[in-house]
């Protein structure tokens, strides 16, 4: 019981320590008094991982002393077969969530130009207009660069894996270009049923946009205006 209370308190302290507002220079997003799910996942994950490591060290010491009791065997079972599964699950959930953020996309130096343009209030690029007006609440890069539906997320993660590889090996075209033609459906998923969109576009134009014959970016581009100096590796 004591351990559970201590664990909960430590998790709360950890999530308070680790909490970082996503908005720089603006009003931080509301967290509520108890924090967000992701903060709890991180906090509990860290507590469990540290507890698990401490348990492994204790068992290692017992093994060195040659004292292998039934209790230490049970602890070994918990420390290798039970607790790590929980930690890996929490770490994966945290990794999946955090890999969608603008910070994760901007972690590679080559994306500096795109991220600076995105966050530049003076920029009139499509991405910057969406960012400064908060048309998208969070995960700005990910929202526009992943397809909708279940496979959209899987595909985006696989693309991300490729981006990490290209960044590590330095094999990417300069200036950075999108790998595949941008799908209008990503725009239309939000704008498609908006009255503003329907009022401003001719009826016969909409099927062409849906089929991809015309691109939204033909009229509303460019999507990004990166400073190429900062985008060079």
């Amino acid at each position: 019981m004591k351990r559970a209370v201590f664990g909960a308190l430590a998790a709360l302290a950890a999530q308070r320590l680790l909490a970082s507002p996503e908005t720089e220079g603006g009003v931080p997003p509301p967290h509520g008094w108890i924090g967000t799910t992701n903060e709890w996942i991180r906090g509990i994950g860290i507590v469990f991982a540290l507890l698990n490591l401490a348990l492994l060290v204790a068992i290692w010491i017992q093994l060195r002393r040659g004292k292998v009791s039934t209790v230490s065997k049970a602890l070994l079972f918990g420390a290798i077969l039970v607790l790590p599964v929980v930690v890996v699950f929490l770490a994966t959930a945290n990794g999946m969530r955090e890999s969608m953020t603008v910070q994760a996309c901007g972690a590679c130096h080559v994306m500096d130009g795109h991220v600076k343009d995105l966050q530049n209030p003076a920029s009139d690029s499509l991405a910057a207009v969406h960012f400064k007006n908060r048309y998208i609440q969070e995960n700005h890069c990910y929202t526009c660069h992943s397809d909708y539906g279940m496979y959209g997320s899987v595909s985006a993660k696989l693309d991300g894996l490729g981006h990490v590889w290209h960044n590590m090996t330095g094999h990417y075209p300069k200036p950075i270009k999108i790998a595949h033609p941008y799908s209008n459906l990503r725009c239309l998923s939000c704008h498609g049923e908006a009255q503003n969109f329907l009022a401003k576009h001719e009826k016969e134009e909409i099927p062409k946009l849906m089929a991809g014959t015309d691109s939204c970016l033909d009229c509303h581009g460019p999507a990004h205006k990166p400073e190429e100096k900062t985008a060079q590796k």
Binding site: W60, P84, G95
Partner: protein, 72 residues
Amino acid sequence: MNDTPADRKMLLWIRLAIVLTALALVLALMLLYKETPYVFTAFMFLGPLLLAAAFVLLGWVILQELKAGRVL
């Protein structure tokens, strides 16, 4: 555990399982503390593999102990 060669081998496997689990946990801790694309990629590839190897090693030791105890 006694000091027979078989016991020493099992002890070695247990230690190896502990080291592999600890490595997976360190990767998980790094990911939980601060996520970067590199850490995430490393964790997704290595974390489950390290844990699976530790599972197999410990499972093998448990199986051997059960056999030695004539349970199986």
